[in-house]
Amino acid sequence: MRALCWEGVNDLRVQTVPDPEIVNPHDVILRITMSTTCGSDLHFIDGYVPSMLPGDVIGHEFMGVVEDAGSEVKKVKKGDRVVVPSFVACGDCWYCQHDLYSLCDNTNPNAEVQAPLLGYPTGACFGYTHAFGGYAGSHAQYMRVPHADVGCFQVPEGLRDEQVLFLSDAAPTGYMGADFCDIQPGDIVAVWGCGGVGLMAQQSALLLGAERVIAIDRFPERLKMARDHIGSETINYAETPDVLAILHEMTGGRGPDACIDAVGMEAHGTGPGYLYDKAMQTLRLVTDRGQALRQAIMAVRKGGTLSVLGVYGVMDKFPIGVIMNKGLTVRSAQQHGQHYLPRLLEHAVKGELDPSYLATHRFSLEDGPRAYQMFKNKEDGLVRAVFTP
């Protein structure tokens, strides 16, 4: 089959690779109908996340049709149209049983090698480095999905592929980020980043009862999307000298009750702090630039919540003193998609959640390298590139 593979830093190629096969009894083979780029892919494409190997099939946000099922698969069957979260979860371990699916104990074949990085290993993620399991990703024609009964969610009749595709990752990640904010009536939530995850976090905050949502980005077309599709108020940080002062004014001097960082380690910023980070990161001395996170920490009100969805490694100049003295709560996680998908599908069926506008550009798999180039540079207003293999 054809698949989009990582061959080195900033080197993606479409290759012919062997078809996947059923290996374990809970596996299914999925024929991929749609697969999309994710901002976190850029971290390993740029070489900031270790343990990619040349030839790895990438992609972790996808949907498809079940082509073949292992002997122990009970709930899904051949021909089912399903959407699958990015993290592989067994459903049986203590973490899965406590709805912490991305922390699954039983799905990462490289757990022992990942453990020293984190203390304890997480579950596996499709197409996202060998530390996260090394499973072949979704930018391919077919894919093996382990523990299919836990990971495959049937798509209800009447929903188009692009309405469902983003329920694989962007929507549950954003929804979880908003859920972490413990939103109370009257709360104002600020979200850094208007990519797929950021937009989904904004929409989720409103679904969960936020009074107002403020979005921060530098791309006018993305900010427009936040206003038009969600109803967020927006700040273009490239056009203002002081985001904090504006947030201060917009919130009556209190600050947002919760701040969500949907940017992560490759955050852009302005000023000397950014240049310091950029220099350090270029030297690979530290992996994170962290401008968005630092700004969010400064901006959030006292006693507020900081919800971190961006992907990070090790950060310097981390304002722990601000967190301590303002008495903040910091929450973060990789998405527990299996926990959120049922309610997200319900929102989709009711018409309360339709992320299809994120799919600004479509490509064939063969155009994969060009699609990622455009995605990385945000050319032509591209928010998400979608492949139809």
Binding site: P18, S51, P109, N110, V113, H130
Partner: protein
């Protein structure tokens, strides 16, 4: 090792050696592939570790070399490179009762799968097994073990029979974990490496990280098999690495 940077420090340089010895020979193409993957992965982690060392080195230049010496000697001492005895203890918590886990360990022929990542095991009867392990240099070691003590729901211990080049013993303990967490399982392996060239290679492989990885993996494989009925694997995982074959 600095607890804050678990990959930091010269101890990391053991990883590459470790992985060489740690990995299963395996006969199939898949396991060869997995071995290669893990080797490269080890290299990546090693590089990370070395980078930390150079970061530390910069600070060291400011503070003088005496502390480096202390640091190095402390770490090599910790790794136990000078001793000819290797013992590894690792624990894992599994969401089943101690009685179930004990049965699973003793009965049903699961051990060959659990240990399959580094040893081929043939169980001759409930108490005896034949082990074969590949070591660096293309050679293999084998031995027979016999269960010397077993207490249902509590522990199993075994040791190698006389005559092997690599005398060893092992034990697995089961004790209830708090709350709804299941059972804490502790696996301890103890090797007495032989002398000679093979002995030196084995000693190197058996000290520090290698057995820790082996034992850690064995426990994870046991847990996954018991909790989910399968062991996570990258067998036949599509990639452009295999496409030339």
């Amino acid at each position: 090792m600095d607890v804050g940077s678990p990959l930091g420090g010269p101890a990391t340089s053991g990883i590459a050696d470790a992985l060489k010895g740690a990995l299963p020979g395996g006969t199939g193409k898949a396991s060869q592939e997995q071995r290669r993957v893990t080797l490269i992965l080890g290299g990546v982690l090693l590089t990370l570790g070395l980078r930390r060392v150079s970061f530390g080195g910069a600070a060291l230049a400011l503070a003088g070399g005496a502390l480096l010496y202390r640091e190095l000697s402390r770490q090599s001492g910790q790794a136990g490179a000078e001793t000819h005895m290797a013992e590894v203890t690792r624990s894992i918590t599994i969401g089943k009762s101690a009685a179930e886990l004990y049965r699973f360990w003793r009965e049903g022929g699961h051990l060959p799968r659990v240990m399959g990542h580094f040893a081929e095991i043939t169980e001759t009867d409930m108490d005896q097994a034949h082990w074969t392990v590949r070591v660096p240099g293309g050679r293999s070691l084998s031995w027979d073990t016999r269960v010397v003590e077993s207490r249902p729901g509590e522990l199993v211990s075994w040791q190698s029979l006389p005559g092997t080049e690599l005398p060893n013993r092992g034990e697995v303990h089961f004790r209830p974990a708090p709350g709804d967490r299941g059972t804490e399982v502790t696996l301890r392996l103890h090797f007495q490496p032989p002398g000679g060239t093979l002995g030196a290679a084995a000693a190197r492989a058996l000290n520090g990280l290698v057995p820790s990885l082996l034992v850690g993996d064995a426990l994870r494989r046991f847990k996954s098999l018991v909790e989910t009925g399968e062991i996570p694997t990258l067998d036949r995982n599509p990639s452009a690495r295999a496409s030339t074959a």
